[in-house]
């Protein structure tokens, strides 16, 4: 009887603690959306109003005042194009390499793989200046490829796909060989379909990383015509300084796609992180 009571009490404490943290993590998103739907005078009300005015003028005004004289459509298109292309190329290149390291025999295979793993220790910040110089010499500054090509292979992706391809039994490959199947056909027709869940996880991480990228595009994309959304949002902050209704409306626009994507694929995200951490 007494035990039952303590169990109940500790459950109440658990739910209370979790709810408090949940409010802390979720409230800023609520406040972002609520502020974006408030009239300017409501924003400065005290005590703050928790229920917004549902005033959509902020979105209209934000939409008609994009930074740099290029329409918001352009920034959205830039981000979608950059993130989409980077994702496709990175997943393709990383899984090709991951498959080779897992299943094909060639000289220096393990040495090359260990060298690539070692690259994970290099902080990206160290590469900023030399990569900027390289891009400058290639005349790639202010081009889309500057934001795509350097990211179209990932060591983490190679590692992740190699782990998966290793689990495919070798008998499958031997059987395919007897039937006269080439390595390329085996990769595309057998290995890749089997690896779909792993590739989806990798694609989500690459897409998210590219959508949220800031420092690199800030440096290499100073031209508004090719600027991605996050960098454009930073410029918008510069021009609309204290217009919090407009700023939160723009922030909502940039954050919403990521939130929706995460809500659809949350299981893959969370498992991907746990897997990367354990297997590492």
């Amino acid at each position: 009887m007494k035990r039952l009571k303590t169990v109940k009490l500790s459950n109440v404490l658990t739910y209370t603690a979790l709810t408090i943290v949940l409010i802390f993590t979720a409230f800023p998103f609520y406040w972002m959306i609520a502020s974006s739907l408030n009239r300017p005078e409501t924003l400065f009300a005290f005590p703050p109003k928790l229920i917004p005015d549902f005033y959509f003028q902020n979105y209209i005004e934000m939409w008609h005042n994009p930074p740099g004289g290029v329409s918001w459509w352009r920034y959205i298109g830039n981000t979608v194009f950059i993130a989409g292309t980077t994702t496709i190329l990175s997943v393709f290149n990383s899984s090709l390499a991951g498959f080779a390291f897992a299943k094909l025999k060639f000289p220096l295979r393990n040495k090359i793989f260990i060298l690539l793993l070692g690259l994970l220790m290099i902080p990206g910040e160290m590469l900023l200046i030399p990569n900027y110089v390289i891009l400058k010499n290639l005349h790639w500054l202010n081009t889309y490829q500057a934001m795509i090509i350097p990211w179209c292979a990932s060591v983490f992706g190679i590692f992740l796909t190699r782990q998966f391809f290793k689990t495919i039994p070798n008998e499958l490959w031997e059987a395919a060989q007897v039937d006269g199947c080439s390595i390329g056909r085996y990769f595309f027709a057998v290995a890749v379909p089997l690896a779909k869940p792993t590739l989806l996880t990798l694609a989500l991480f690459v897409f998210l990383g590219s959508w949220n990228a800031f420092l690199w595009p800030l440096i290499v994309a100073t031209d508004y015509a090719i600027m991605p959304l996050e960098v454009a949002l930073n410029s918008f902050r510069g021009t609309e300084g204290t217009q919090w209704g407009l700023l939160t409306a723009a922030s909502t626009m940039v954050t919403a796609p990521v939130l929706i994507l995460f809500l659809i694929f949350q299981r893959q995200f969370i498992e991907g992180i746990a897997r990367g951490a354990i297997k590492g």
């Binding site: 943290v21 993590t25 406040w31 393709f92 498959f99 160290m126 390289i134 179209c152 996050e230 723009a250």
Partner: protein, 315 residues
């Protein structure tokens, strides 16, 4: 006899084909990584020996950039100042982050209802873009009309200048980044907790240990690799932190939030001192490399997310 020769030849041909295909398959990834990771990580050492503004002529000055950073003011005081800011930031944020996320993970591992819902809610901030969420937090931190000060005023508690004051600006950054990463470390702790065998905990409980004893004598020691891993990636993250500082404080007031990562950016892409900034980058690399080695030594793990994220997200 001929049959054997033909078979052997076929086998050899197949092996040659396999190794050619192997090189073909790895070549796109290897080409990209060589050009944009391997080559620049050597090239940066060369640039660090130059006096160069990225446009004009290059002057070779040996290790002068390094001696300036380490010993000569104003460079040394700027650089070590940024290291001190980073260390302060680590001292404030890491214990907070580790204790909160460990408690959350322990709570989430209990047999509770709506676990998926809570986990989702706690994790969601981690995936959202830094500039957008920094803007939202700037509004929350606003000294005059921000939600935080209004809330404190309602409770009759003292308010703060938050991002505009010192030392409150650094504390505000700690609050923001804790908000952003708390879900990530919670997930790692949950993964670590699934590795703690339940039989051990049961056995201790049967032997009369209370929940507190079970935690400190079994769970905590068995979690230590995870804890250490989170400690190291948080420290590395602190040295590299850029975007929240750039958006929310610009390193101010009076450089009190100018972390090493932000200092590197300012030197390279505002002052265009490529050689000097490269030397700062090399110093940053030395710090992070030392932390990584410690981590591998103690946990046998490679710091995956630390490396990839900086490349992917450019924090």
């Amino acid at each position: 006899m001929t049959e054997e020769v033909v078979l052997q030849r076929r086998k050899r041909l197949r092996a040659v084909k396999e190794f050619l295909t192997g090189y073909l398959f790895i070549s796109p990834a290897v080409l990209v990584l060589s050009t944009f990771v391997i080559f620049p990580s050597i090239f940066v050492f060369y640039i660090s020996t130059l006096d160069w503004n990225m446009i004009g002529p290059k002057y070779f000055i040996g290790l002068t950039n390094f001696t300036n950073i380490l010993f000569k003011s104003p460079y040394a005081s700027e650089f070590w100042g940024s290291v001190l800011v980073t260390v302060k930031y680590v001292a404030l944020s890491v214990p907070l982050q580790i204790s909160v996320s460990l408690i959350l993970a322990l709570l989430l591992m209990r047999p509770i209802k709506f676990r998926g819902f809570f986990r989702l809610g706690i994790f969601i901030s981690y995936v959202t873009p830094l500039v957008a969420t920094s803007i939202v937090w700037m509004w929350i931190f606003h000294p005059g009309y921000g939600f935080l000060n209004s809330f404190l005023r309602l409770l009759h508690l003292p308010t703060s200048m938050w991002l505009l004051g010192s030392p409150s600006a650094l504390i505000s950054l700690v609050i923001y980044t804790t908000w952003h990463v708390i879900g990530f470390s919670t997930i790692l702790f949950m993964a670590g907790l699934t590795g703690v065998p339940t039989e051990l905990q049961e056995a201790a409980r049967i032997d009369g240990a209370n929940a507190n004893g079970v935690f400190w004598h079994i769970t905590w020691p068995m979690l230590s690799p995870t804890t250490f891993f989170i400690l190291v990636i948080s420290m590395i993250g602190a040295f590299k932190m850029f975007t929240p500082v750039f958006v929310m404080t610009g390193g101010g007031p009076y450089y009190t939030t100018s972390t090493t990562g932000y200092y590197l950016y300012v030197k390279a892409f505002e002052d265009w001192a490529a050689g000097y900034a490269s030397a700062v980058a090399v110093m940053l690399f030395i710090f992070i490399f030392a932390l990584t080695l410690l981590n591998i030594k103690f946990t046998g793990r490679k710091v995956f997310y630390a490396g990839e994220q900086s490349r992917g997200e450019g924090r």
